[in-house]
């Protein structure tokens, strides 16, 4: 194999430039029994990058509960799959595209959406709902406003053209994201439970087929870029930016679904990060076989591309298929019909090697199994930060209660983080596919499943401040909030996917935050019986040594058995009674109120009582299923007062006031704006009061009627009394004003 031994080019510098440590390089030498050539080194480099190998996170992720009666596919495939009955299953996953979006917001976000869509339709599902979770820095910086604009356009530009509705998400701002924005895209698809496709190669001699767009020099080493900190030089190092082509993706979707209808293919995998490299290796590794690919047959967009470039290109809108021998023509005909590239580039072999040919020569040969199984796994050192105790200490006595609490409410609800996100989601098609029972604007999006009585409810959540102040509790609260949001739509929470965004894992403090957050999610998922079926880790969200707050984003998928019974998030009728499920203990720590109005990010989030949380959610679902509750909305950022105000002004049209009393007990600002979990505001017809009380009692949830819907003012005790129009104005305009004027 002399042709493979031309390794004089592999100097220690070249190894380092590929992000491989000397120890990792040693391991490569052992696996190959010789020095790699450049193509092979490139392949190891991307496969063993943090992004592809999960080498720092793997030991922790094992703690997640991943099984359950409905789980048809847990983590490890392109996306997780849940059985929803009636012969249907849903496929979903979330993924980050943080670094590319910072460099080129439109294309970065667009290709992020493209990537997650492919993950879902690779499994045979038609994508039916997208969510997007976004974090930006301070809006007084024009660069951030430009990023917001580009990211939102990019998500819309791709999703709208592709024809999958974007039905919800979250948008938050904090200085910790100034140098590292977060763009996490979620997608959910629908398929028949007995028609799941997997990314596996099998059947020696079966053809390996390349389909989709041509390969260009896009994003070479994107995966390694996503595994490094930003620095001054990353501007120069940047690869050709990937440009999304949603039209081709849409054709690819239709063609793939058509191919999957017949008995034509064995396995299929999208070419995501690390393109042809990871798709071929992962398929071979799952099938326990080898794959031989002739790179001369890969359709190229540019002339003179080398095997190295072809293997590492991250051009979008491509897939790799292992077809049944003899069915090549049928596969080709379908992709041609959709005007896509289709080329038999190789075949499945029995020697367990990934063998690459180019111009008649072998240009690379790697044993598949060791590359996957002997990939490095690190138990990185962890330390609880020295400052953790300090930031958890809070002395409320030093914080004055504002004189004008009405003014405080208006200021809070008009701040970009709490104001309406309509500016964002109005740029997304939320209705295409005719399933959107509840679009963006409420607690959870609700998507009906045609041909059944069912609907799916979706919510994506995370409070980054909670996670900074107490990573374990904060992450658990993210799961609890996502579940609560889904329960507010009347849905039973079933399972989650997550996207864990953190700083540099080589720093022990970051690794501690990560491990704590994973524990928190695991604990919450066990408590709520909602397994983790898929997920994604994004490390190195750090610029010049400054990391983001730990930001484990959680997306919950819930099921509504009878889609005709679900509640609106907003008050609907004058005269309805308002009740609080749960209690108002009045805790100030970690609140948006402290951060936004007093500039204090300290204390601890209010503790979670799982029994209470579950009881409150169960009562809410039962009240909705019994068609008692006309509205249900949880108390989250901004606490009780903000939630109540949203019930009044959040509806698409009519706005409606309310009058409520809160039991006194603690200081007024804590009662109004404290962020204790496990609370839901519901409304119902007065004649249903006793039934409502009974439902809450049976579920074991605290329940208190606190007031009544009606009028054109919002009154809370003798603290707040405001015309509803004033609140509405601040809430509606808050975000667009900040984007226009900054700050």
């Amino acid at each position: 194999m002399t042709h493979l031994a031309s390794s004089s080019e592999i100097t220690p510098e070249v190894v380092a430039r590929h992000g491989l440590s000397p120890a990792e390089y040693e391991r490569i030498l052992q696996i190959l029994g010789r020095a790699p050539n450049l193509v092979e080194l490139g392949i190891f480099s991307v496969m063993w990058s943090e992004h592809c190998s999960y080498k720092s996170s793997r030991v922790h992720l094992r703690k997640f509960p991943t099984k359950g009666p409905r789980v048809l596919q847990g983590p490890g495939e392109n996306a997780g799959v849940l059985d929803i009955g009636d012969g249907f299953a849903v496929v979903f996953k979330m993924e980050s595209h943080n670094h590319p979006s910072f460099i080129e917001p439109y294309q970065g976000a667009a290709t992020g959406v493209g990537g997650i869509l492919r993950d879902v339709f690779t499994m045979g599902a038609r994508p039916i709902a997208s969510l997007d979770s976004l974090r930006f820095g301070r809006l007084d910086d024009p660069r951030q406003r430009h990023l917001v604009d580009g990211v939102v356009r990019g998500i819309g530009g791709y999703g709208n053209s592709f024809g999958c509705p974007t039905v919800g998400g979250e948008t938050a701002f904090h200085p910790c994201y100034d140098g590292n924005i977060l763009v996490n895209a979620f997608n959910l698809g629908l398929l028949r439970a007995d028609r799941i496709f997997r990314a596996v190669a099998a059947g020696v001699g079966n053809p390996v087929i390349y389909v989709g767009s041509r390969t260009g020099r896009d994003g070479i080493h994107g995966a390694t870029m996503a595994s490094e900190e930003f620095s001054e030089t990353s501007e120069e190092k940047r690869p050709t930016v990937q440009v999304g082509d949603p039209f081709t993706e849409k054709l690819l979707l239709e063609a793939c679904l058509e191919v999957m209808k017949g008995d034509l293919i064995v396995g299929i995998q999208d070419m995501g990060a690390a393109g042809l490299t990871s798709s071929s290796l992962e398929m071979a590794s799952r099938g326990g076989v080898g794959i031989e690919i002739d790179l001369s047959r890969v359709p190229l967009r540019e002339e003179g591309m080398t095997p190295y470039e072809i293997m590492l290109s991250e051009s979008q809108e491509r897939m790799l298929i292992v077809a049944r021998a003899g069915r090549e023509r049928d596969v080709e005909a379908i992709f041609r019909k959709w005007d896509l590239q289709v080329e038999v580039v190789g075949r499945v072999t029995d020697d367990g090697l990934l063998r690459l040919l180019h111009a008649g020569k072998v240009v690379g040969e790697i044993p598949v199994k060791p590359l996957a199984e002997e990939a490095p796994v690190y138990e990185r050192p962890m330390t609880r930060p020295a400052w953790q105790d300090e930031i958890q200490a809070l002395d409320p006595d030093g914080i004055p209660v504002p004189e004008d609490l009405g003014r405080t409410l208006v200021d809070l609800i008009g701040s970009p983080g709490l104001a309406s996100k309509a500016w964002v989601y109005r740029q997304y098609d939320s209705v295409v596919r005719s399933n959107t029972l509840e679009g963006p604007g409420g607690d959870a999006a609700v998507i009906r499943i045609k041909d059944t009585r069912k609907a799916i409810a979706l919510s994506v959540d995370c409070n980054h401040r909670y996670c900074y102040l107490d990573p374990r509790l904060g992450a658990a609260l993210a799961v609890a909030e996502a579940a609560r949001n889904v329960s507010c739509a009347g849905a039973l929470p079933l399972a989650i996917t997550d996207c864990l965004n953190f700083g540099n894992p080589e720093r022990p403090e970051i690794m501690w935050q990560f491990a704590e957050c994973v524990e928190g999610i695991a604990e919450a998922c066990r408590a709520l019986d909602t397994p983790v079926v898929s997920g994604n880790v994004s490390f190195y969200n750090e610029t010049k040594g400054r990391g983001i707050f730990p930001t484990p984003i959680v997306a919950m998928v819930g099921l509504i058995e009878d889609a005709t019974a679900f509640a609106a998030p907003f008050f609907r009728s004058e005269g309805d009674l308002v009740a609080l499920l749960g209690e108002a203990p009045g805790e100030l720590g970690a609140s948006e109120y402290l951060a936004a109005l007093h500039g204090i990010e300290r204390g601890r989030p209010a503790p979670l009582d799982w029994a209470r949380e579950k009881a409150v959610q169960a009562a809410c679902r039962a009240g909705i299923a019994a068609r008692l509750f006309r509205s249900a909305h949880d108390c989250a950022d901004g606490g009780f007062a903000v939630a109540l105000a949203e019930c009044c002004v959040g509806g698409p049209e009519a706005i409606i006031g309310a009058e409520v009393e809160l039991p006194r007990g603690s200081r007024a600002d804590a009662l109004l704006f404290g962020e204790a979990p496990s609370r839901i505001i519901v409304s119902f017809d007065p004649s249903d009061r006793e039934r409502a009380e009974r439902i809450a009692r049976e579920a074991g949830a605290p329940f208190e009627v606190i007031g009544r819907v009606g009028g054109d003012r919002l009154r809370i005790g003798d603290w707040i009394d405001l015309p509803i129009g004033e609140i509405r104005g601040a809430w509606r305009e808050g975000l667009s004003r900040a984007l226009r004027e900054g700050g």
Binding site: G216, R217, D218, V241, V243, F247, E302, Q316
Partner: protein
């Protein structure tokens, strides 16, 4: 004075728009089209100033706003007076 800034996708950057238009032209029978790239054109009316200054200004504006330097390059032409 009249100026024109033409902004085109950089070499090597995927140009789905150009590709789609080229395909459409081919299917209309315009086979003489060997390649097509699609970009933007800005026609600008500028207050009178020395040519060198105008050019510098146009470059600055292109870099800052008219083009996206990560994926696009630009050309400037100033009309002769």
């Amino acid at each position: 004075m009249k100026a024109r800034v033409i902004v085109m996708p950089r070499e090597g950057v995927l140009d789905p728009q150009g590709k789609a238009i080229q395909n459409a032209l081919h299917s209309l029978g315009y086979d003489a089209v060997r390649d097509l790239r699609a970009g933007k054109c800005f026609e600008i009316d500028l207050a009178d100033m020395p040519r060198a200054k105008a050019e510098a200004l146009l470059h600055e504006m292109s870099e800052k706003l008219l083009a996206n330097p990560v994926i696009e390059s630009w050309k400037i032409t100033l009309e002769e007076e």
